[in-house]
């Protein structure tokens, strides 16, 4: 079980690195699909079928929108030029990674081994299934115990649609000249 997840995670990392280094934007978007579909397989191995259903369709819609944006504008990248600020960024990122590894080695024993920790709220939600009455426990949590978060998420989606419509509709003054 762990070995499958390690292989899929390694493939996702390879796909992500290739997607950020591709010269053509079309190749970058298509290899971004490796990360998404690998995540779908990882969700199926981790026994989460709701998430796999949502993620596969959302991933396909994201790929379609990105491909249409690239087709309508341009799909080539500029030439690389080495500058000083990117070296500073990479050094800071390596320092942060080293710091994380030191902290993890010292205090990481608090994080349980993979697959052995059961939280208190999980047992409480599983035992209280007669309060909501739904056989799907995830839907019972999303719409029953935690309905405020679903209300917030619906509001965020509504605001994003209003934002997209407002951004694409503004007539700038310079475009008429």
């Amino acid at each position: 079980m762990e070995i499958y997840l390690i292989i899929i995670l390694a493939l996702m990392i390879l796909g992500a690195v290739f997607s950020l280094h591709a010269k053509d934007l079309l190749s970058a978007v298509i290899s971004y699909g490796i990360v998404g579909f690998g995540l779908v397989i990882a969700f199926l191995l981790l026994q989460a079928p709701d998430l796999a259903l949502v993620l596969i369709v959302v991933e396909i819609i994201t790929l379609i929108i990105m491909l249409a944006v690239i087709k309508n504008t341009t799909h080539e990248e500029e030439k690389k030029s080495f500058s000083l600020s990117s070296v500073i960024y990479v050094c800071v990122a390596l320092l942060f990674t080293l710091f994380f590894f030191v902290i993890f080695a010292r205090f990481g024993s608090g994080l349980a081994r993979f697959g052995e920790d059961t939280m208190r709220m999980a047992t409480a939600y599983i035992d209280a299934v007669h309060l909501t009455g739904s056989a799907n426990l995830v839907t019972g949590v999303v719409f029953g115990f935690r309905a405020y978060d679903t209300l917030g998420e619906a509001t965020v989606l509504f605001t994003a649609v209003v934002g997209v419509l407002a951004i694409l509709r503004i007539k700038g003054k310079k475009e008429e000249d």
Partner: protein
């Protein structure tokens, strides 16, 4: 945006209603099988996007005057708020989002309080939102900044 060839259009005529029906099935059985409002909503939006891609921008009935998608999305989120406020008014406990319908037996289609209604309303909102994003960015991006 140009449409695709006649073979793709004929297949779309056959397959897109089946995808839409599958999305409705996942929404209604949200409290029994994996899925729920979000999964069914994005699948219904996927059926709509499939039709737009295969037929092109000159699909009949795509007009810019009044968007029935906007009305559907707004009524979706308003319905969710109304379900929440009905729990405030009509239940014995009297708090926001209280379960005011009877719970019933676990595993039947009519059970689990207001959760099937909430699934349907959220699916309407999510499908309309994603279809509206797709239409605004891909189909209408040239005309939007000119008129209105």
């Amino acid at each position: 945006m140009k449409g695709m060839s006649i073979i793709v259009q004929k297949i779309c005529q056959i397959v897109a209603p089946v995808i839409f029906l599958f999305g409705i099935y996942i929404v209604i059985h949200g409290h029994l099988t994996p899925g729920g409002g979000f999964a069914g909503g994005v699948i219904m939006a996927g059926a709509f996007i499939f039709q737009i891609i295969s037929y092109g921008s000159d699909l009949p009935k795509l007009q810019k005057k009044e968007f029935s998608l906007e009305i559907l999305e707004s009524s979706g989120i308003l319905g969710f708020l109304i379900i929440a406020c009905l729990g405030l008014l009509f239940s014995t406990v009297g708090i926001f989002f209280a379960n005011f319908l009877p719970t019933g037996k676990i595993g039947e289609l009519v059970s689990a309080g207001y959760i099937p209604l909430a699934n349907i309303v959220v699916a309407a909102e999510v499908s309309a939102a994603i279809s509206l994003i797709f239409l605004a960015m891909i189909v209408f991006k040239e005309e939007i900044s000119d008129d209105r």
